[in-house]
Symmetry: C2
Subunit: 205 residues, 2 copies
DNA sequence: CCTACCGATCGGTAGG
DNA sequence: CCTACCGATCGGTAGG
């Protein structure tokens, strides 16, 4: 009677997660095609052949990682928990929460870039089909209940919000690797969020 | 007396460019590590060994492509040509010019993503060291001559502008591959630019 | 600029 | 879950 609850994962499930954890680290450091099954096996503490008891192929490992480690599962509840009386406060808090979480787990952004760069977004489409129906309502609710918004189309608001976070994260990667960090002020996140906020809010707000 | 002018490139230089053109197409389709030297040779119409008369290694081809094909060389003069009486008109036109150019040559964005995903931005730093001193003055001039701006720091303005274009291009890639194109309105670029514009401009403008 | 080759490494599997 | 192996392909080179 092996229990299949969250609290007591099967040994096989544990090994599977160990493989995924090893794989995601290597993917992020090197990309997908530059990472070999032998490297994943070594990092996970298995022999090469052992991996194939848990995954049919290297591609299947990547797919599993994309699904299991994707940020929106963590982020959605965090956004919904975000507080603030005015919309400005609410969205400001939500943005900071999202970027803090993504920055602490740089996994996600990098993984997304790998997906686009090496797979032309092939897995991404399937993911969005799953995630979008859960994310859109959050923005629909915001549009309905907040009258201070200039942007009244939920999909446009969602796109602009995700785009703003993405652009901050990516320019942050670029800047931190270059000489631009000397010329860039320190409180960039505040300035960035301020521009966005001013962009979507009515002037009276 | 072989002339070395732009009008009459050496045969060797022509072959070198042919190799670069073949390589960039393959890189964009498959990424860097998934592209083989044999594929590049085939597409360029050479035997494998012939490539090594022009490039020492696969990595050197990628570096050459990054330098020679980078968009800022084309984009900088286009931005400077952008017209418009008000800042709103000027930036609106500049944005459309940039995005039109990048969309018609999807090379660039993809190449940048490959650079980050597969090289951790290693080549990018060197590039920015060259490009930043040429781009910053453009934004410095805008900040100085336009009083309608809320954003007064040139580097912040540059970052937000590049970030806005990047986020539009990347979300466009994601959306066009997914079911989201059904729920997304058609004139998204206008809405996107409008949010940004409203974000950086003073309310009186 | 091509032909023919090198050693190394790849993803994956058979068999236990 | 490991050992030992497979054919295929990789980046790169020697020699002409």
């Amino acid at each position: 009677m092996t229990a299949k609850t969250k609290d007591a994962p099967t040994k096989g499930e544990a090994t599977r997660l160990t493989i995924e954890d090893a794989a995601i680290e290597l993917f992020i450091e090197q990309g997908y095609h530059a990472t070999s099954m032998r490297q994943i096996a070594d990092k996970a503490g298995l022999a090469l052949g052992g991996i194939y008891n848990h995954f049919k192929s290297k591609d299947e490992i990547f797919e599993a990682v994309i699904v299991d480690k994707h940020p929106y599962k963590k982020l959605l509840p965090l956004i919904q928990q975000a507080e603030g009386e005015t919309l400005k406060e609410f969205l400001g808090n939500a943005t900071r929460i999202v970027i803090d979480e993504l920055s602490s787990q740089p996994y996600y952004i990098k993984l997304m870039l790998i997906e686009i760069a090496e797979f032309n977004g092939a897995h991404g489409a399937a993911f969005i089909k799953e995630a979008a129906p859960q994310m859109l309502p959050v923005f629909e609710k915001i549009v309905k209940t907040r009258k201070e918004l200039r942007v009244t189309h939920p999909a446009v608001l969602m796109r602009s919000f995700i785009g703003m976070v993405l652009s901050y994260m990516i320019t942050e990667i670029i800047i931190s690797n270059s000489i631009l960090n000397k010329v860039m002020p320190k409180n960039s996140l505040d300035a960035y969020v301020d521009i966005y906020m001013h962009g979507i809010l009515k002037e009276s707000a």
